[in-house]
């Protein structure tokens, strides 16, 4: 690996982590699309800032563009408050207009501006190592590394300082307010951090792909854990993995680094979407199936309890009576036997003592409207699940 390659990967990884942290909170607060709005709407701010400073990495430009981001949020909220259009329409109206202004500004000043449309959409990560920070004569490394490093440091500091407040106001706004934390302050604080991060990352990965770096790691992590701290750590991990994996994918395909990073994120999300242990599609499918068999089992046990006479409890009769297909009744019978809930003698099924106890309790829960408690009951009685 050359020096430039290491620097590019370092920048990409820092960008990914800086985006993943606010991303986790945006996803949990159901405000993901705000990041889309911010990332598009800062474009005019960046272009105007560039006219003034002539330097994409100048702190003034970053502040100016981040201010545009916060203004966008305020504008969206103002339109929502007027009630003239529904909430999401407000987002959809504001950012394309601001983005268009940015694109036109670039197009009209194409000659004087060292900014082009491709850079806006994709960023210029590959060129980042060429723009170096010089203090006196010493080379301090690429400028964007310093910029995104500073942003990340600020984000991390704020995260550690206000973790408790952020967590509380994310999950229970009402309680946060009654305890005296200001949700408005936290909201705009989060929006400011997101805007600054988006601006810092914009240079590296472009307008649309910032959104991927913000939302995708957080959403993927959310499918894997219920714990906010773990979610933050996992999403940072995915971000870094995508940054480094994406770099090498781009290297081999000779394509855009930002595009490859997003594609890696997409693949990770697809895998987690399909295979996540609790939230994944496939496990959801099995859970549904298990639920179905277990509900059948419960109905079957209740039926047994209701009928003392032997002919009602005959194996063949049951199939007719409850009207199950053969396969299903077989699975249910097997499950019940494995769990010692029933015993079969001469093709006549009867409840065991354990089965009797289970059925009584289940019936009690059903009649007292506490059907949710049955899940816990199953855990106590079942040796094998359906």
């Amino acid at each position: 690996m050359t020096n430039a390659q290491i620097e590019i990967q370092a920048i990409a990884a820092l960008v990914a982590v800086a985006c993943a942290i606010p991303g986790a909170f945006l996803v949990l607060r159901k405000m993901s699309m705000i990041s889309d709005a911010i990332s598009h709407a800062i474009l005019p701010g960046i272009v105007l800032g560039f006219f003034i400073t002539q330097d994409l990495n100048s702190p003034l430009l970053i502040l100016l563009a981040a201010l545009t981001g916060v203004i966008t949020v305020i504008l969206v909220e103002y339109i929502q408050k007027t009630g003239l259009v529904k909430e999401d329409t407000a987002i959809g109206l504001v950012f394309p207009a601001l983005f268009s202004i940015g694109v036109i500004l670039i197009a009209k000043n194409a000659n004087d501006v060292h900014l082009d449309i491709d850079a806006v959409l994709l960023g210029e990560l590959a060129f980042a190592p060429f723009d170096r920070l010089l203090i006196g004569e010493t080379d301090m490394g690429p400028k964007s590394l310093w910029v995104i490093g500073t942003i990340l440091l600020i984000t991390l500091t704020l995260l550690f300082l206000f973790f408790k407040e952020l967590k509380l106001s994310t999950f229970d706004k009402g309680l946060a307010t009654t305890l005296g934390f200001s949700p408005v302050l936290l909201h705009y604080g989060l929006m400011t951090v997101s805007s600054v991060t988006v601006v810092g990352a914009f240079d590296a990965v472009g307008a649309v792909l910032v959104v991927a770096l913000i939302i995708a790691p957080a959403a993927t992590a959310y499918l894997l854990t219920d714990n906010l701290k773990k979610m933050l750590i996992i999403s940072c991990g995915f971000g870094v993995f995508a940054a480094i994996g994406g770099y090498w994918m781009a290297h081999f395909l000779n394509a855009s680094i930002a595009g490859s990073m997003t594609t890696v994120l997409g693949i990770i999300f697809l895998l987690v979407y399909l295979f996540a242990p609790k939230q994944g599609v496939i496990s959801g499918f099995f859970q549904e199936k298990q639920q179905q068999v277990e509900v059948s089992l419960l109905i079957f046990l209740l039926h047994l309890q209701n009928h003392a006479e032997a002919e009602e409890r005959h194996v063949n009769h049951l199939r007719e009576h409850i009207n199950w297909q053969k396969v299903r009744s077989k699975t249910v019978l097997e499950l019940a036997t494995k769990n010692n809930l029933i015993q079969i003698s001469d093709d006549v099924v009867s409840l065991t003592d354990k089965g009797q106890e289970f059925t009584d309790e289940a019936l009690n829960y059903i009649t007292t409207n506490k059907a949710t408690a049955i899940e816990e009951l199953k855990n106590r009685f079942f040796l094998f699940r359906g």
Partner: protein, 371 residues
């Protein structure tokens, strides 16, 4: 460029016609997206169409517009169904699903585009016009395609008008009446995807969503009837399409997409401010008028209480004694005098018979309401 060029120049006429039709169909179908709270779905779909365009090019190796659009359609539909899948099967909310699909598909599309750009056969230039749109590349057959799709969607709209309208305003009721909600849902979503795909060449994937939303949001301000709203949205859309294309055609180096979006956004701002019933301007005027009237009534009531303590109701009082009451200004006093409720002489005011009666009835009415 002269205005008459629009009618004489063949290319310009084609382009103008194309953008007009596009604006109309977007406005029409956009109305449904806006009312169904699916505004941002358009954004996600249009971004999700990009990898379809690139893949279609990679597979066919030719820049045949129709093939590229079919690719876009397929990938847009996959994106849409995946969004539904994510919302239905995981705990992620719809906004996260939209953002995910939007950015992930777009990123993959950009990967493919940059990959294509660096391929040795140089036939690929021009694919990036799908990013921001280039109306100048519209050809007569493209316009025909748009016209046909618009015709079909109009027909379907008319055919399912009653059902779609019901679905918009009360989905549960529609279901209980026995209509196939799922079918209607897929029908309208498919047409929205179609409209988006048609617009990609002109407006581009990045800004297509605004083309869908803005005319509909503007039209919504002027009417409360679905039919009128759709017609108005179609007109607004066609107007912004034509006007935007004209502006961008008269300038060098300007993609059509951003200009059209800005024209449509201007329409939205005008509608937000000046619409007579919902607009911000008239709302503010109504608000102020009500407030003034309330002040006037409060002043009159206050005066009534003073006058009621005297035998002669028209006994003059100093204006000064109104000072401990906040609601009056010189202007309210003049208005009250104009309405002949009071008379002012120098620093004194006196209630007239008319003003006394007015305040008394107002007072009685208030009393009755409180009972």
């Amino acid at each position: 460029m002269e205005l008459t060029d629009f009618f004489t120049d063949y290319t310009l006429r084609t382009i103008t016609l194309g953008t007009a039709i596009l604006g109309a169909i977007c406005g029409m179908l956009g109305s449904f997206a806006v009312l169904r709270k699916q505004s941002l779905l358009g954004d996600a779909i249009s971004h999700a169409a990009l990898p379809g365009i690139a893949l279609a090019f990679l597979i066919t190796g030719a820049k045949e517009t129709n093939m590229l659009l079919i690719g876009a359609l397929v990938s847009g539909l996959i994106g849409t169904f995946w969004i539904n899948g994510i919302v239905k099967r995981t705990r992620l909310k719809s906004d996260t699903a939209l953002g995910l699909i939007l950015s992930l598909f777009f990123g993959f599309g950009m990967l493919l585009l940059t990959f294509i750009q660096k391929m040795p056969n140089a036939n690929q230039a021009g694919l990036d016009k799908y990013l921001f749109g280039q109306a100048a590349t519209l050809m007569e057959k493209d316009v025909w395609l748009m016209a046909i799709v618009t015709g079909i969607s109009l027909l379907v709209l008319l055919l399912f008008w009653k059902e779609l309208k019901l679905l918009l305003f009360d989905a549960d009721y529609t279901k209980t009446l026995g209509f196939n909600v799922r079918f209607l849902d897929i029908l309208i979503t498919t047409f929205i995807v179609l409209a988006i795909v048609l617009g990609l060449q002109t407006v581009g994937v990045v800004l297509m969503s605004a083309m869908l939303l803005a005319p509909a949001a503007a039209a919504r301000q002027w009417t409360n009837s679905l039919g009128t709203m759709i017609i108005l949205a179609a007109i607004f859309g066609a107007f912004s399409g034509v006007f935007g294309t004209a502006i961008s055609a008269s300038q060098n180096n300007l993609s059509t997409g951003p200009v059209i979006v800005l024209v449509a956004s201007a329409l939205v701002i005008v509608s937000f401010i000046f619409s007579p019933k919902r607009g911000l301007l008239f709302r503010e005027i109504r608000f102020r008028k009500n407030r003034r009237e309330l002040h006037l009534k409060k002043t009159l009531t206050f005066m009534y209480h003073i006058a009621a303590n005297h035998e002669n109701i028209s006994h003059p009082h100093a204006i000064r004694i109104l000072n401990n009451f906040q609601g009056f200004t010189r202007k309210t006093l003049t208005t009250l005098e104009e309405q002949e409720f009071i008379q002012i002489e120098g620093n004194q005011w006196a209630m007239t018979k008319k003003g006394f009666n007015e305040a008394e009835t107002m007072f009685n009415q208030l009393g009755q309401e409180n009972d």
